[in-house]
């Protein structure tokens, strides 16, 4: 049939009534599809559908990026999709592998570091062997927001990938209970966070106002169009990741961490002497141990920049007044001893020259030095 014949046939068949019926059917069908979508709530299921570890190589760290056009990466909130894009999901654990998960904040994720320069990549380069001949293979499960509750969520999900050891880098900034739910990642994953709170009896409010309120509309296709678009974008970005191995825009120049510090003695809203153990989310760390079960967890107090500039007598760096950080270190040390944790304090393991734009972000050399320290910790533990 020629195009013209087709048009003539279509013209004969179409009346205004026909158009109204089509509109009505479209509306009904669209409503039905949305209802089914709400009932199935398939976002997490869809998140698992991924071209990574198949057509594209898995990413070496969890997806995170503000400007997809420049960083070839995107921030998404669906945990399943994040893991589906990660290399860990594509590697079946062999008998020869000693699997180490490294969780933590942006310092673990590797802000301003190429994928091959992060802690996990540096550990892997060393090809450490266990006494029984297994090769230590570290996976980067860091994520750039500061909240140990966020770490716990990722750690718990990572347990499905059969780790032999978990290394959890922490710092004071990610510990205050009041700021645990400031992380947008947790706010967007409200249900998962509430489950964590219930499962590990965390001292957080499951009805906290910071959680995203989910309405019926938010569960429809229309309500979740942004999340769905992000899932597709993440897949599209696989092309650029495959072709470039770039997953972060690293500027040639950046504002270096502050050397001269404000004469401020407060830490968050805590005045000197007001910070107590109860204000810190130690229960979340306990939750991590509980989740890991028999898998050993090593807590590492991550290195921080120690300023020599103005007001460095009262502050270590932009984040921490000396009194607060000293209290935190002492308290964590005593808590670890009392609870029999594997705990290593590496707070001053790096010279100040090896920090980049913040008091917790490292240079490639800093990352290598810290990786060597962690390797020693692993070796010590395996002995």
């Amino acid at each position: 049939m020629t195009d013209h014949q087709g048009e003539v046939k279509e013209a004969m068949a179409i009346s205004w009534g026909f158009i109204w019926r089509i509109l009505l059917k479209t509306f009904v069908l669209f409503a039905l599809i949305n209802i089914v979508y709400v009932l199935l709530n398939p976002l997490h299921l869809l998140g698992r559908v991924s071209m990574y570890n198949g057509i594209f190589p898995g990413r070496l760290r969890l997806p995170y990026g503000d400007d997809p056009g420049r960083s070839f990466n995107i921030t998404i909130s669906d945990l399943e999709a994040m893991f589906a894009a990660h290399e860990i999901q594509g590697v079946d654990k062999s008998e020869e592998e000693f699997r180490v998960l490294i969780v933590g904040d942006s310092s673990v994720w590797g802000f301003l570091l190429e994928p091959g320069q992060t802690l996990s990549a540096q550990i892997n380069k060393s090809e450490v062997k266990t006494e029984d001949g297994k090769t230590v293979r570290a996976y980067n499960l860091g994520y750039p927001t500061m909240s140990v509750t966020k770490d716990l969520m990722i750690l718990e999900r990572g347990l499905r990938n059969h780790p032999d050891l978990i290394i959890w880098l922490i710092t004071l900034e990610s510990l205050p209970s009041v700021s645990q739910l400031d992380s947008p990642f947790l706010q967007l994953n409200a249900e998962l966070t509430r489950e964590l709170i219930a499962r590990y009896a965390l001292g957080l409010d499951p009805e906290d106002d910071r959680f995203e309120k989910s309405t019926l509309w938010d569960r429809t296709i229309m309500g979740q169009r942004r999340e769905l678009a992000q899932l597709i974008q993440l897949q599209m970005l696989g092309v650029l990741w495959s072709g470039s191995s770039v997953d972060q825009e690293i500027p040639k120049t950046y504002n270096e961490r502050l050397e001269d510090l404000p004469a401020d003695l407060d830490f968050h809203n805590f005045r000197q002497g007001n910070l107590s153990t109860h204000e810190l989310a130690i229960d979340v760390l306990e939750g991590g141990l509980q989740a890991a079960g028999k898998i050993p967890v090593v807590f590492i107090n991550e290195p921080v920049f120690i300023s020599q500039g103005e007001n460095s007598d009262i502050r270590y760096n932009f984040y921490y007044p000396r009194w607060a950080y000293d209290f935190y270190r002492e308290e964590l040390q005593s808590q670890a001893a009392a609870r029999d944790w594997h705990y290593v304090d590496l707070w001053d393991a790096l010279p100040s020259s090896e920090f980049t734009d913040s008091a917790i972000h490292y240079t490639p050399l800093g990352s290598r030095i810290l990786a060597q320290e962690i390797i020693e910790v692993i070796k010590e533990l395996l002995r």
Binding site: I14, F18, V239, G243
Partner: protein
């Protein structure tokens, strides 16, 4: 055009179904087009130019109509009322400055009404003076053509547009140091200019009959087609406007289908592919050769879906308004040679250049005193035409090279056809028409076009060349 624009235009066009009066439909299309020029104009950094650019589009259209309306044609009542509407609209819009922030039709606060009255009066006087002079001298039309081309060159040539922006910034009391070519984002001027040039040229050659002002202005500023074409012919458009009948159910259905298809192409496919499509960042960071090809193909598809999507939306809204716009794309990536590609890619622009550049130029060369080889005439015609098509997108070496790339492709194809014609007896026609041959031809044509986009997509000749070499395994 954003989704909101498309939705509003579709609803407005659908609302025209409420009237069967041909007169009301014409007037409605005229008014909607007039108002849309202001509504569609994006915000620009130059103070108040969100108002002045649309006003200048209208002013230029009015002047050119007054000059080309024909000596024998006076101003009838309809023309006068339409001209009055045109004069009143900027005044009404400028009164928006007294409304609270966000209530204005333009993206920025309009200028003072006094200024609008003064500049509007000057434009009207210029228009009537031009019309009067045009009856006595053909130079006026030529001068108008030069002005339109001049503005076009200023807008499309980055160093000149920065210089112009700096001048305008000085005049509006803004910092000259912040002058940028993006300051001169004049909505739809590429299309407005080519519609106006077509009118000027056809009037000069005596081919253009008088067109009522109402239809003329709607032609130049027709709301679905102002942002991305197509470039219709004025006599064709005017004849549609003269009929401007209510669309049949079938036409309405076709229009709605085209709009939905266009939205899908533009906002789903094109915008989705945009992330991975070739650009300077992606090109610089992509190290693997196969993935480099993928991003070049992604650009090819993205550009097609983007442009074809917009065209579908424009044609669709035209359909439901009762105005059929010309087609602009016809499955160009499935064509078997570069000649048919150019008969199906941005067809209205290609036809414009064919009518006003290629044909007159090759005719002149053929009739010239010097005996020129026909092949050389074709090569010259194609080089000039395609380079100008390239420069229409922006005056840069890259666009010029993109045009030349296609010119050479067209010339080689032309010679190949001539070569085969001469040997028609020796090669069986079944060979040409075989499915295999067709597939190979489509493959070659698509890849030739896709490689051409490397010039088009990247900002510098050096980078384009490097990418082309890398695509074939060089520069490792």
């Amino acid at each position: 055009m954003t989704l909101i624009h498309i939705l509003v235009f579709s609803l407005l066009a659908s609302a025209l179904l409420l009237t069967t009066s041909h007169r009301w439909r014409r007037w409605s299309l005229f008014i909607i087009s007039l108002v849309s020029v202001y509504w569609l104009q994006p915000a620009v950094s130059l103070r108040q130019f969100g108002f002045w650019f649309p006003t200048a589009s209208i002013g230029l259209t009015v002047i050119i109509w007054l000059v080309t309306r024909g000596r024998e044609r006076g101003l009838n009542r309809e023309d006068l009322v339409a001209l009055l509407c045109v004069a009143l609209l900027p005044l009404l819009i400028s009164l928006g400055r007294f409304l609270p922030e966000g209530w204005q039709l333009t993206d920025s606060r309009p200028p003072s009404t006094y200024l609008v009255v003064i500049i509007g009066s000057i434009l009207v006087l210029l228009g009537f003076a031009g019309g009067w002079l045009a009856e006595r001298s053909r130079l006026v039309l030529g001068l108008l053509g030069v002005i339109v081309v001049g503005i076009f060159i200023v807008l499309k040539t980055e160093p000149i547009s920065i210089w112009a922006s700096s001048l305008l910034r000085g005049a509006t009391g803004q910092s000259r140091n912040l002058a940028a070519s993006t300051d001169l984002y004049w909505l739809g001027f590429s299309y407005i200019a080519f519609r106006l040039l077509h009118v000027i040229r056809d009037h000069q050659s005596g081919r253009l009959s008088a067109v009522p002002f109402l239809d003329f202005l709607t032609y130049v500023l027709f709301f679905p087609a102002i942002t991305a074409g197509p470039i219709d012919r004025v006599e064709r458009f005017a004849s549609k406007m003269q009929k401007a009948v209510m669309p049949t159910a079938s036409e309405y259905f076709t229009g709605a289908k085209r709009i939905v298809l266009g939205i899908f192409q533009k906002f789903v496919l094109a915008d989705g592919l945009a992330i991975i499509a070739l650009n300077s960042t992606n090109a610089a960071l992509t190290r693997s050769v196969p993935w480099l090809w993928v991003i070049v193909f992604a650009f090819s598809m993205r550009l097609y879906f983007d442009f074809s999507g917009y065209t579908d939306v424009a044609i669709g809204i035209g359909y439901i308004s009762g105005i059929k716009l010309p087609e602009n794309f016809d499955r160009p990536y499935l064509k078997t040679n570069i000649g048919t590609f150019w008969n199906s890619w941005h067809m209205t622009l290609a036809n414009w250049f064919r009518a006003y550049v290629f044909n007159p130029l090759t005719r002149a060369l053929r009739k010239g005193r010097l005996k020129t080889n026909p092949a050389l005439i074709i090569l010259s015609g194609q080089l000039v035409t395609m380079t100008l098509i390239g420069l229409w997108h922006g005056v840069t070496w890259n666009f010029a090279l993109w045009g030349m790339w296609h010119a050479i492709g067209l010339f080689v194809h032309n010679r190949w056809v001539a070569f085969l014609k001469a040997r028609r007896d020796r090669i069986p026609s079944a060979f040409y028409n075989s499915r295999g041959m067709r597939t190979v031809s489509i493959f070659l044509t698509f890849n030739f076009v896709a490689l051409g986009w490397v010039w088009f997509a990247l900002p510098s000749v050096q980078m384009s060349w490097e990418i082309l070499i890398r695509m074939f395994g060089g520069y490792r």
